[in-house]
């Protein structure tokens, strides 16, 4: 029996600006994707297998990045869908919404247990963008399902408030022990806890992505949709993906192949097919 295609909804809040490229990246990995308005009919959400909150500046980052969007009713609906096991990925500003709404890390569901604070960088302030190397700390999440722990990938970051912090003593250790720290910033060969600029924002222990305990809700600061194709990788990048890119120079066919961010969307599809639907294709 033919399995129905995976359907993903990208949620367009006022102020997001990455919804179109996120949709293209999802579709490039063999999934269907629609962009839904944040204030649209709630019942439509149930039609989808998973959800992505894309990057941008919801409500112009007023008060605090993600703080106002976290209070929108659609977040309550996403919370219910996530409770049923469906994946919800927040990318950058989407991650800020998931953290501000308490969906991640969700040790006590709905309780705000972390913050994404302003970047701390030597001799700089505010918004900062660069390609980062990331070490996969857990392959049990919906964004790393097709990867292996300790794999190193490379994805760009671009934000002013991306530093994972908490005042809950011991929480960070528990997140590592539970496999809820999904990715950390690393050196090009996976070296742990690097300094700036490899850790671009001063994030606690280099954390770049955190999930809930089931791995189906992930707040990640890097932008995988900006690394979905090899052609998007800069030739100057160090590490494996930079070498791949330089090796593909001049070949349009190879440059059109998936880049490092593509693995995130492959993971999303396989997570849904293998874990949510089961290998028999059951919904």
């Amino acid at each position: 029996m033919m399995e129905s295609r995976v359907r993903i909804a990208v949620i367009r809040f006022p102020g997001v600006n990455c919804e179109d490229e996120t949709k293209r990246a999802v579709e490039s990995q063999g999934m269907d994707c629609d962009i839904l308005m944040w204030n649209g009919p709630r019942e439509r959400l149930a039609e989808y297998d998973g959800y992505i909150l894309p990057g941008g500046f919801t409500y112009q980052d007023r008060v605090r990045a993600g703080a106002i969007a976290a209070k929108d009713r659609i977040v309550d609906c996403l919370f219910e869908e996530a409770q049923a096991g469906k994946p919800v990925i927040g990318i950058c500003n989407g991650a800020q919404i998931l953290i501000e709404s308490g969906m991640v890390p969700g040790m006590t569901p709905g309780k705000v247990e972390m913050g994404l604070a302003r970047n701390i960088m030597p001799d700089r302030d505010g918004y900062y963008t660069r390609w980062t190397h990331l070490r996969v700390e857990s392959d049990a999440s919906c964004v790393t399902w097709a990867m292996s722990s300790l794999d190193v990938t490379s994805i760009p970051t671009a934000h002013a408030e991306g530093r994972f912090v908490t005042i809950d003593e011991g929480l960070i250790d528990r997140l590592f022990e539970n496999g809820q720290v999904v990715m950390t910033y690393s050196g090009a060969k996976g070296e742990a806890e690097p300094a700036f600029p490899y850790n671009p924002n001063g994030s606690t222990r280099g954390i770049a992505a955190v999930s809930n305990s089931s791995g189906n809700v992930v707040a990640m600061m890097p932008h995988p949709e900006r690394a979905a194709w090899l052609s998007q990788v800069p030739e100057s990048l160090s590490g494996h993906w930079g070498a791949e890119r330089r090796g593909a120079a001049g070949s349009r066919r190879i440059l059109a192949e998936p880049g490092p961010g593509g693995e995130v969307f492959t993971s999303l599809r396989t997570f849904i097919v293998e874990r949510l639907r089961g290998r028999g294709g059951e919904a």
Binding site: K111, I120, D123
Partner: protein, 186 residues
């Protein structure tokens, strides 16, 4: 000698951030019966190396006049003082929720920016947001429901409650019109 100057900055044009916050509180967070108005100020506590309080104020006045480090005079109005309490100037039906970033990252940047443009006297800057919340009922010191209400307004401890401060990255104080201040973090 280090002298302290408090620079208070507010928009003189429409403050869209305040409008969005008020809208979120009243319509998304169910506070329409409790909150009737909102205003926002940024307070900078600035430590200046100077011979006297007057010369310290002159240093800050020069920064304000010549640079955009703290404000844009086309859009903002500002006042200078030697001290500022959270409760200064509150009406009887207002409280102030004062939010400070735990690490003060933007404050160090302000000092560095002032230094880069040649203002050498500024030694330290700390910044807080002062949200002036106008309540439907004037607050009273004996009301046991007041502090819980202000926490539901001010501190993001749960999904759906609290807006102004994420307690993991910020601290919050509340100031009352009768001249009292209390920590708001749970």
């Amino acid at each position: 000698m280090i002298e302290r100057v408090v620079l208070t900055v507010a928009l003189k044009v429409t403050d869209n951030e305040t409008l969005s916050a008020l809208e979120a509180l009243r319509t998304k967070m169910g506070m329409a019966d409790s909150i009737v108005g909102l205003a926002r100020e940024v307070q900078w506590e600035l430590d200046v190396e100077a011979d006297s309080p007057e010369s310290a104020r002159c240093v800050i006045a020069e920064i304000v006049e010549r640079t955009n480090v703290f404000l844009n005079p086309n859009k903002h109005r500002s006042t200078l003082a030697s001290t500022a309490h959270g409760y200064d100037g509150l009406d009887d039906d207002e409280v102030a929720i004062l939010v400070t970033d735990r690490d003060g990252a933007e404050s160090a940047a302000a000092v560095a920016a002032a230094s880069r443009i040649g203002v050498m006297g500024l030694r330290k800057a700390s910044r807080r947001i002062r949200w002036r919340v106008r309540l439907a009922e004037a607050p009273s010191p004996g009301d046991p429901g007041l502090l819980p209400l202000l926490r539901r307004i001010g501190v993001s401890s749960d999904r759906g409650t609290g807006l102004f401060s994420n307690p993991h990255s910020q601290t919050a104080l509340v100031a009352f019109p009768w001249g009292d201040e209390k920590p708001l973090d749970a």
